[in-house]
């Protein structure tokens, strides 16, 4: 591991052992756990720079990806991560399996169980589905996104990407711009970045922020709400733009896309309000010309492609930690 990397922990880190059987959410992660994930990811990233990007850490283990929602990058990223660790991978997607025949989630899990898989990576449109899975499976469950609830591996790869560049996370101003009401990416990033001492600001019209968040309920301590994009972006270290889902664009949550673009699109002029060294992130896929001006997508500040690469390293780290690879085989 590179020596110059700053520890997340201010004190000397303890030799933390991974204790989680499943990765369902990061809402109860300790700083030490974040630290372990990021360090392990860093080791995995080194593997990705080798000419032969393969280690035997998970040889003989079988991992199933079980996707009830369409996904390109997350599923592909998990598959590659598992293969880089020499695990065998089977992919089940809702369109091409018994799921369309009305097979229940619990049935599917029992089937995978009987096949002897060691880990199940699950993506589901309904919040909490991985929790149901964890109740019924002996295999490790890894949440690859459930409804609006959580996308823990996305948050961890986002944290890793920022950490890699900034060398620290504490006190950074992280602005999450866009529809956080319906966003699992936002929810997990709120936990992650707040959990290591960064300052998170959510920016969107109130109709796209978690309901009643700023005037009635206070689910997240220390998370700021700012409906004015200019004020939100001022002094930002990280600007994370969220996708405005197609089905939300005409759902009555805002007048129309035109007005959204006018007041909430991240464009060059607005991005200039952030710090000069601010990072620009997007979990993808990008709606060009809607939430972000096309010129920004691959501008020097953008780390959108690094997020994808780092996603593989972070997922390797998580599969390794959760499913249990042997340390000397990395």
């Amino acid at each position: 591991m590179a020596k110059e990397q700053t520890e997340l922990l201010e004190d000397e880190p303890q030799n933390l052992n991974w204790t989680r059987k499943h990765l369902l959410d990061i809402d109860s992660f300790t700083v030490a756990e974040y630290d372990l994930v990021l360090k392990t990811a860093s080791a995995m990233k080194e593997i990705l720079s080798r000419p032969i990007k393969k280690v035997p850490a998970l040889r003989g283990k079988t991992i199933a990806t079980l996707f009830y929602e369409p996904s390109t990058r997350t599923r592909g990223s998990f598959e590659l991560a598992a293969k880089n660790l020499s695990a065998d991978v089977i992919n089940l997607a809702s369109a091409s399996s018994s799921i369309v025949k009305g097979e229940s989630l619990i049935d599917t899990l029992h089937t995978l169980q009987a096949m002897g898989v060691n880990g199940i990576v699950i993506r589901h449109s309904m919040a909490g589905a991985p929790y149901l899975a964890a109740k019924h499976a002996q295999a490790s469950i890894i949440n690859a996104g459930d409804g609006w609830h959580a996308h823990p591996t996305q948050a961890l790869l986002d944290m890793y990407t920022v950490f890699e560049q900034k060398k620290h996370l504490k006190d950074l101003k992280v602005v999450i711009l866009g529809d956080s009401r319906h966003s699992r990416v936002a929810r997990s990033n709120i936990w992650g970045f707040s959990g290591v001492g960064a300052k998170v600001t959510l920016c969107a019209p109130l109709t796209l922020l978690p309901p009643g968040m700023n005037y009635r309920y206070h689910p997240y301590q220390g998370v700021e709400i700012e409906t004015d994009i200019q004020k939100a972006l001022e002094g930002a270290d990280v600007v994370m733009v969220l996708r405005l889902q197609k089905e939300r664009q005409n759902a009555g949550l805002m007048p129309d896309v035109r007005e959204y673009i006018r007041y909430y699109q991240l464009n060059r002029q607005r991005f200039a309000l952030a710090k000069p060294d601010a990072m620009l992130m997007h979990p993808g896929p990008v709606n060009e010309n809607i939430e972000i001006e096309p010129e920004l997508i691959r501008c020097p500040a953008s780390v959108i492609d690094q997020q994808v690469t780092n996603g593989i390293a972070v997922r390797m780290a998580l599969l390794y930690l959760v499913i249990g690879g042997k340390k000397d085989e990395i």
């Binding site: 809402d27 229940s104 989630l105 619990i106 589901h124 309904m126 919040a127 909490g128 589905a129 929790y131 149901l132 459930d146 409804g147 609006w148 609830h149 959580a150 699992r184 929810r187 978690p210 309901p211 009643g212 968040m213 009635r216 309920y217 206070h218 689910p219 997240y220």
Partner: protein
């Protein structure tokens, strides 16, 4: 020879007469003939005797809101199993909601329910009929005919009457019948796809949520419509502090509105949904501690007239799936008393208040249907519930007599249990024996 039952030495609580006295109760041929201190002594002891020392003798509980699922959903519950569960919960009269298949919007379905109940049930089963055909909220059901066929109220149950024009016509049309229109007040447009209370927990869990205001706006509309027509609206399972305040204010103005609260809304908050527990998924959703406080306050000042279970049994496969797919509802008959008694043990409600809300108060709502229940006065029908208030027991859903094992109280310890349930002088449930049914 006359059949006689003597209940000795209990605490008689009869809120209809504001009576709370230690004594005996004598039942002959299904009627109460004598009660009070030493009442048994003047009678031939050659009778069936229940020793009720340390127990409470109350009028039989009346549940104005339950789901028996028959016809149509017999895998969830039947009139037979539902009535057994009701008896175990101390209920002697239960009013079943019309969300059956077919819906109870015709005299034939109503007759089916009444005939099945006459055959299969030892508790009184009184059907509530639909307000609109197939509960679709479009066309009024034949309410006069349904009232003649034994309906004790009208409701579209889980389908709120969203169209204000239909609600107004329903109130007008049913007014001469003297029966309530029972509305599930949750504005569907505001509920949208909501599956739990909107708030801190829903945000953390990422579950689509419905706000308290979705209940409040419809209660506000309904009390205004009731005021306008002079008709009677009954608010089912009120769950919000705001809703309680609207009903309180309407009652102050003299609006003909009654309201009910469920044991679960009186005892559990949205926190029960944490970990995606589908057994805590219910409509309207579990709210907050603030709402619970307002419901208790509402019971105390009679803004809320009655406690009703909204017993809603589901199969284990219904509940054992993704939170968003699991149907809403709690199997409530068998835990109702124990759950509500926590409020008594905690000093929030008196025993007499609880008994009142579960007996004479719902009986008053049934008066329009020509039934005289809910009292232990001489000459009354001998529907009696005997309660052991101090008995501690642990909820075991597998031991439920209901087919619905869906309870958020499983493995919780409750204090207060039904010892005997008596309908027309016949003991139909004996909770002091190991064998639960008679």
């Amino acid at each position: 020879m006359k059949s006689r039952l003597i209940i000795k030495d209990g605490l008689i609580i009869d809120p209809a007469r504001s009576l709370e006295v230690k004594g005996d109760l004598v039942v002959e041929d299904g009627k109460i003939i004598q009660s009070g201190p030493g009442a048994a002594s003047s009678f031939n002891q050659n009778a069936e005797v229940i020793e009720a020392k340390g127990m409470i003798i109350a009028p039989g509980f009346i549940d104005f809101h339950c789901h028996l699922r028959e016809p149509g959903f017999e895998d969830k519950e039947t009139i037979k199993t539902g009535s057994l569960a009701a008896a175990a919960g101390g209920f002697t009269t239960i009013c079943c909601m019309p969300n059956t298949q077919p819906s109870a919007d015709s005299t034939s379905t109503l007759s089916y329910i009444r005939e099945t109940a006459a055959r299969d049930s030892r508790v009184r089963v009184l059907p509530i009929a639909c307000v609109t055909v197939d509960r679709a909220g479009k066309t009024l059901a034949p309410m006069i005919e349904l009232a003649e066929a034994g309906a004790v109220g009208f409701s579209d149950d889980g389908s709120p009457i969203a169209d204000s024009w239909i609600m107004l016509r329903a109130l007008e049309y049913s007014k001469p019948l003297g029966l309530p229109i029972i509305n599930h007040c949750e504005d569907p447009a505001l509920v949208a796809n909501g599956q739990m209370n909107e708030g801190k927990i829903s945000t953390l869990l990422g579950i689509p949520s419905s706000p308290a205001i979705s209940e409040e706006v419809m209660i506000a509309r309904d009390v205004r419509l009731a005021e306008y027509t002079g008709a009677w609206v009954h608010i089912a399972h009120i769950s919000t502090a705001g809703g309680v305040e609207i009903v309180r204010e309407a009652k102050r103005r003299g609006v003909r509105v009654t309201a009910e609260a469920t044991p679960h809304h009186l005892s559990l908050t949205e926190e029960a949904v944490m970990n995606y527990d589908t057994n805590a998924r219910v409509n309207p959703p579990l709210r907050t501690q603030e709402d619970i406080e307002a419901l208790i306050e509402g019971l105390k000042d009679s803004t809320i007239d009655i406690i009703a279970t909204d017993h809603a049994p589901h199969t284990s496969s219904d509940k054992n799936q993704e939170f968003s797919l699991a149907p809403a509802g709690i199997s409530g008959f068998e835990t109702a008393l124990g759950v509500v008694m926590k409020l008594v043990h905690d000093g929030r409600l008196t025993m007499a208040e609880v008994v009142s809300k579960m007996t004479i108060a719902p009986a008053a709502i049934l008066v329009g249907a020509g039934l005289k229940l809910g009292s232990l006065d001489n000459g009354s029908i001998a529907d009696i519930t005997i309660i052991d208030p101090g008995q501690r027991w642990v909820v075991d859903s597998n031991a439920f007599l209901s087919k619905g094992k869906n309870t958020p109280y499983n493995r919780m310890e409750l204090k207060g249990k039904v010892a005997f349930t008596i309908v027309s002088g016949q003991i139909i449930f004996n909770g002091t024996k190991n064998s639960q049914t008679l």
